[in-house]
Symmetry: C2
Subunit: 215 residues, 2 copies
């Protein structure tokens, strides 16, 4: 009886410690590949050189080099895309952000989809034309009000969202925020919203002149 109890005790200890050990090991492995991203970026940002994000090696331009700013962190998050970038953006006139999107599309083979606002895609300096010219799929709001979102989802798992439009003034002038998260409780609904807007603004669904003639 005593021996049985001792063996039972040892068994329970062994199982409990094994479970704790496996849990600890999983946590260590998770930390090793990085905790889930959770970050808040505030703007305006100081102006620094961003060439090193695209081209390795020294740069001779007159801007400060090597500094980490909210803007370079935002660009790095976007450049981390390996398979897809789904972007809903109200106003897009930042040349630096356009350079990132074109880089992802041309050099990294990332599947880029953009939904934007029909009025603001025509603002001075808008980069929407450059995206379309490069062969990127862009759809614009077909409804009567604004598509006012400013969010991006990288590889279906990293959400970048906030008040920041992708304009020079927003980045370097305004008080703005960008929240970055891998929390699926936030990422999933934004992905669903993107798909909803992507489908709703399919030009094939828009009534054309021939539709009116048929009526």
């Amino acid at each position: 009886m005593g021996k049985t109890f001792k063996l039972l005790g040892i068994g329970v200890v062994a199982v409990t410690l094994s479970l704790e050990g496996i849990s600890w090991l999983l946590r260590c492995l998770r930390d090793g590949r990085g905790r889930p991203v959770k970050e808040v970026l505030f703007f305006p940002t100081t102006v620094t050189c961003i060439n090193h994000l695209f081209l390795p090696g020294p740069c001779s331009c007159s801007l400060p080099h090597g500094d980490s700013t909210p803007f370079t962190r935002l660009l790095r998050h976007l450049l981390s895309a390996r398979s897809s970038l789904d972007l809903c953006i109200f106003a897009f006139s930042s040349q630096e952000l356009c350079r990132v999107v074109l880089e992802l599309h041309r050099q990294h083979g990332v599947s880029v989809r953009v939904v934007t606002d029909k009025d603001y895609m025509m603002i001075s300096g808008s980069q929407i034309g450059a995206l379309r010219k490069a062969g990127i799929s862009v759809r614009h709001e077909l409804g009567g009000f604004h598509m006012h979102h400013k969010f991006a989802v990288v590889d279906k798992k990293l959400l970048i969202t906030g008040s920041l439009n992708w304009t020079h003034q927003a980045v370097q002038g305004n008080k703005e925020n960008v929240l970055v998260t891998e929390d699926s409780g936030f990422v999933r609904p934004f992905l669903q919203e993107f798909e909803k807007l992507w489908d709703a603004n399919d030009p094939a669904r828009s009534p054309t002149l021939s539709d009116f003639i048929m009526l």
Copy 2:
């Protein structure tokens, strides 16, 4: 030796099971008082009656009653304030949202502070004047660019942030998002940003005519 080992085994099992038990109990207690809020709201919303959020009892207006919409959920989150509401808002012309803020200030004794944009506080239908008239502390951006945030922090622990300005068009027309979270990793930086903007836009720091006369 055998007895010592047995006792040691029982001791380890007892301690381990106790720790697991305490952990389980804490989780149960936490679930009992509700999981941390984590929610995403998308707009536009349908128009429903919101009187029941302020006054108990039936309402005879012609709007739909009793429906839960993204807007009523947003209002409920704001009305959950018991001690403070810190609000950074670019454009504020929604009468319903103004009613909520006035209710918190007048009826619930909540300490309300508002930072807004100097240009957009003068848009048609702006509610900023009504807030100031009611004795609510409002500061506006003193810098040269826009205060473009749209966030609120309730009781220093619930963050409400997104693309949604507090306007009629944003709520009922535009495609907008609002993210609601109690995650301190997000709440803390937004609280710090609020305090930074609150201090930076203190009118006492702004140069007045007498400052220029002294120069």
